[in-house]
């Protein structure tokens, strides 16, 4: 039990460090948020000014913006560790490697969740959607969705962090894996906004939760191999 507690405290320490670094180096977090906003604007231009069409496409646009901005966020959180060889130092700690994964993923989740909620608000304003009316299911969807993006993103950022072509490889590997999450999150958001007329919201949220659990387990089980060989 104490072993597990040690792992949890290390994970939380790493997460806290990442969240602090994000808060103090404000310009990086702000630029990610701004990127998401620009993506939303460009989607609006691409689809034309028809308000009904934009409102219908809003759930998809919300999640594409979150996923794209998420790529930037997880990449940055891992770059923090490689700059001064900090990841090697972390790997020296006498705890299971999955604690390090958990810490990075929780830190990423905190950043992504903030981002997701802000983007949700922006979508509500830009596309004239009543976000407040369905706030609880929407927030649950954002929590589950960003948790999955953080779990997958942390794993793939660890895989690609040392590559020269990191900027290309990270989205190339990560986006196809995220496809089921995107699909379920968009469906859940759409169902929540429409007041769940077909009673399918629960099923999509379950799918999201299952995706999260599977990817967290897979990430925690394999992340240690990434640290092992440097």
């Amino acid at each position: 039990m104490s072993e597990l507690r040690r792992e949890a405290s290390l994970a939380l320490a790493i997460a806290r460090k990442d969240a602090l670094a994000e808060l103090r180096g404000r310009h990086a977090a702000v630029s990610t948020l701004f990127f998401a906003a620009v993506v939303l604007l460009l989607f609006g231009f691409a689809l034309g000014p028809d308000a009904a069409r934009l409102a219908a496409a809003a759930p998809g646009l919300l999640w594409l913006a979150v996923v794209f901005a998420g790529i930037l966020a997880v990449n940055r959180l891992h770059l923090l560790e490689t700059d001064d060889g900090a990841l090697e130092q972390l790997a020296l700690y006498p705890v299971a490697r999955r604690a390090i994964y958990a810490g990075k993923a929780i830190g990423g989740f905190a950043v992504m969740l903030t981002l997701g909620l802000l983007v949700l608000g922006a979508v509500g304003i830009l596309f004239a959607i009543d976000v407040v009316g369905a706030l609880v299911p929407l927030v649950v969807t954002v929590v589950l969705g960003t948790a999955g993006i953080a779990a997958v993103g942390t794993f793939y950022a660890g895989v690609t962090v040392r590559l020269r072509a990191r900027e290309v490889m990270l989205p190339l590997l990560m986006l196809p894996v995220l496809a089921p999450l995107l699909l379920a999150a968009v469906k859940a958001t759409g169902a929540a906004l429409a007041g769940d007329p077909f009673g399918e919201l629960g099923a999509w949220l379950q799918l999201l939760a299952a995706f999260d659990v599977i990817m967290i387990v897979a990430g925690a089980a394999t992340y240690g191999y990434l640290l092992e060989d440097g």
Partner: protein, 237 residues
Amino acid sequence: MKTRILGWVALAAVAAAVYAALRVVPADLNQGDAQRIMYVHVASAWLGYLSFGVTALCGILWLWRRDLRFDSVAVAGAEIGVMFTAFAIWGGMMWGRPVWGVFWQWEDPRLTTTALLIALYVGYLLFRRLADDPERRATRAAIVGIVAAVDIPIVHFSVEWWRGLHQGATIGSPERILNPAAPAQFVATLVGMVIAFTLAWSYLMIRRYQLAQSELAREEAARIDRITGARTAEVAR
């Protein structure tokens, strides 16, 4: 020598199966000649899944046993799997145009799943090219391959749901042809095609594995050259 015999046998089997599918078996009543595509289409799709399964399995074996031969099998599986999967999609599109009226049917869960599959494994192959150290490459590729394989059922499941919760199978799906009501001739041709394609797959897998082993040997030789070369330069100085 044995591999070469296998190659010729596979070639003859594929030729015989293609002849049977094109000439011997009658055309489908509803779909006409387009249905004949199904024989190669199903056989390729099956081999695509088999290949990716082999890649994931060899990834696990590499992490467990640390034998680079497993990594060579894994890369063979990914490359040949992408090839067969692309062939399956191409066949599906050729079939979809006359039967569905469109090349690409977003409503079909298999098609969209398979397209994502190709994206997953093309990513895997590109990723492999970027790493230089053979063992590090093997480890990272193994992890990427395992997570990709874990993702496949989730993708399939979610796309199946996405099309509309609780719906029946797509019209003209392979299951309908394989069901007991299908004429025995159709089933026999399909089984023959699958066997012939699997033989060809085995041949390709062996050859690609041998190639991967040679590549590893060359990398190793180059590395030793670099080390000894550096040492001689030092001595000369």
